[in-house]
Symmetry: C2
Subunit: 416 residues, 2 copies
């Protein structure tokens, strides 16, 4: 079951032409209102709380999932999600808007609403950006092929830390960690000197599985609520010293920022495209059955404390991902591990093939050898400095409208 809003539909709520949130989007997010949490959607610059609509009988949704407990708020099947968006569409596109009382109860200007992270039961990070993986290989294993032998056979991934997933606009404090330079005789503990971002997309699960269950790839998308932008902050000097032999740990677990609106697969479906050709052919349980990638334009913007405006430092597209979300989830479930509602799966860093389309400072500055120049101020950046603000934007561009994610942004604060 799916529900795609007609291309020519409009809302009685005002929507600017370039908005990421036309009536065709209808994403889900959690608003923090007076210290408690409420499920919400967004049209244009307006946040629409779902609680008052349900209590007025205009949408069908049980009270427990509207307010209060974040853990259960987004436990939804694909079917429930489609039918909820259908009801929301009926109300928000109707020619007869809500009465004034209901408007006062459920409509809020987006700029006034503090959004919250949906409950993240687990955070899993893949490595599906093939250009990123190749760049890392070229930098750190220059005498070997850029991609390891397993790369085109399975979506490489690892478990991250769920507790440090934070919402857009929450500052990121420069983490401390243990590092050892190549010429140092002993390691030291202190603030990272190589704070980096990673440009990623992530998807949330609305439904889980029982232990022992696998998920056929053609059913994988039905477990997903939708996508968000993900910044998987990284401390490169910490990572270099700690990651052998069991992978990244504290270099990544201090913070992961996400955009607050979960954009559903139904809203993204007009922008489905075929991903990169997969050669060699993948095993049957990972074989795609349709265009399971999405044409999402991505931008990275950096604003230093001295600058008056942000500068675009990278432009790329989610189509650069080698493995699709459906393939990632089918792989994750292939050993029978129980999936859970609230699992958040990030894609891995998305880089294009050209140097101005890379998805991390590590790649953009090629390990610090080619600093980024801030045109307005003449400053240089090898990695991120205190006071820098880093922002991702993402959107699908159609002939009639955009469906977008808004942004995920954070300012870097000095180490504590």
């Amino acid at each position: 079951m799916s529900f795609v809003v007609p291309t020519d539909a409009t809302s009685w709520i005002e929507v600017e032409p370039e908005s990421d949130f036309p009536i065709q989007n209808l994403p889900f997010g959690i608003a923090e209102i007076g210290g408690s949490f409420e499920l919400a959607t967004r049209v244009g610059e307006t946040v629409v709380l779902l609680g008052p609509l349900a209590r007025a009988g205009l949408i069908t949704w049980d009270e427990e999932r509207l307010m209060g407990s974040k853990p259960t708020m987004l436990q939804v099947s694909a079917e429930e999600l489609s039918s909820l968006r259908m009801e929301l569409f009926a109300q928000l596109s109707s020619e007869k808007p809500f009465d004034a009382l209901l408007k006062a109860q459920c409509l809020l200007p987006a700029s006034m609403v503090q959004m919250a992270v949906p409950k993240v039961t687990a955070f899993i990070d893949f490595y599906s950006g093939i250009n990123h993986a190749s760049n890392v290989g070229r930098m750190f294993r220059p005498d070997q092929p850029p991609l390891l032998p397993n790369y085109r056979h399975l979506p490489v991934g690892y478990n991250g830390r769920a507790s440090s997933v934070i919402i857009s606009d929450q500052p990121v404090v420069r983490p401390k960690g243990q590092t050892k330079g190549a010429d140092d005789t002993a390691p030291t503990y202190g603030p990272t000197k190589e704070l980096d971002f990673e440009l990623e997309m992530g998807f949330y699960l609305g439904e889980g599985t029982e232990i022992g269950d696998t998920v056929p790839i053609e059913e994988a998308e039905s477990k997903m609520i939708g996508f968000v932008l993900v910044n998987d902050w990284s401390a490169r000097d910490v990572q270099r010293w700690e990651y052998q032999p069991l992978g990244p740990f504290l270099a990544k677990s201090f913070a992961t920022s996400i955009s607050p609106w979960i954009v559903t697969l139904d809203a993204l479906s007009p922008f489905r495209k075929q991903g990169p050709a997969q050669d060699p052919a993948v095993l049957p349980h990972l074989k795609q059955h349709g265009p399971e990638h999405f044409d999402i334009k991505l931008e990275v913007l950096l604003q230093t404390a001295k600058a008056s405006k942000p500068q675009v430092i990278s432009r790329t597209n989610a189509l650069e991902l080698y493995w699709s979300a459906a393939q990632q989830l089918a792989h994750q479930a292939s050993n029978g591990t129980p999936l859970e509602a609230g699992d958040l799966y990030a894609s891995g860093t998305i880089s294009g093939t050209e140097p101005d389309a890379f998805g991390s400072m590590l790649e953009l500055t090629w390990r610090g050898t080619k600093p980024i120049v801030i045109e307005e101020t003449g400053e240089e950046r090898k990695f991120l400095e205190d006071g820098d603000r880093l922002t991702f934007r993402g959107y699908c561009e159609g002939p009639e409208y955009r469906v977008g994610f808004g942004e995920v942004t954070a300012e870097i604060m000095p180490a504590q």
Copy 2:
């Protein structure tokens, strides 16, 4: 604050001399009674439910944490935990036992009680068994020093999967996964051929921290409820193919078994010992302030389907761990990641120095080159086979009494 039960104390509940659960232990666990969960302790072969005691006013504990919601059941500070054990001790060691009605409400034979996994918010696995890490180095990097350069400077660890932590006695289904032999031209997907166990200890947190907080090592133990036995099941063939460059993923996430009783640090404190000398000296934030290791004897037993009894295949001790639990937690918190009540931290595989003291089949059979012989049946084992039952036992042996963990056990079921 701490509460250590006097050495000569006894309970009016019967306790066999060799029991792991004398009145000096008073561990915590979650019993599943008629489909709902209840906080419990254990004395000898008797499970004691805490709910009826609280309702009778004999212990001070709020209702919400006694029954119902697993997530909040073990959110406790070290202080609350000590005072609860003090109250339990007063009731269970008293010369005046409960009246018959209360006995009927709160005492159950352990053999009749189904125990449940406490809510695991996150599962983190360290690599602190130095003999295991050295053995793996010798096997897989024979031309290099057995330990990587970072090993003695920080407790190497990685994030695992919390959703697949299961309770002792729940069967483990042989997982499927993607593998590729050295001579294969392409990988295949099917049941693992190299199913292994890993002998570990784990500790649970009762309290968390805010993002940005670090935890001084001298305060680390105060966040812990106590320890359990952990079997971190592993599929070695899956691991070999998938783990580069980001570490173990599906090779470990299909199941992790734990023993049901959380043995508190107060109960273990008479068995504190100095761990291995740490040379080179560790950085100040990881420096230990006392004997933070525990003298816990560990045994691994294997019973095949054809055998009538289990055979001990390894004997070792938790003192073989290079890094203590306090060091592991101080390291985890050193980048400001928020800790959460319910975090479960496993030690890494505990191996002794001798071949009969290794903590995995990989090491005991030296990659399958020296199969284990089951004396009763003459069968050989390189890795685990369907129908095998694998059990860990662990206990501290004092002159007067034992404090133990009982066991963690599981039978291997065929792949689905």
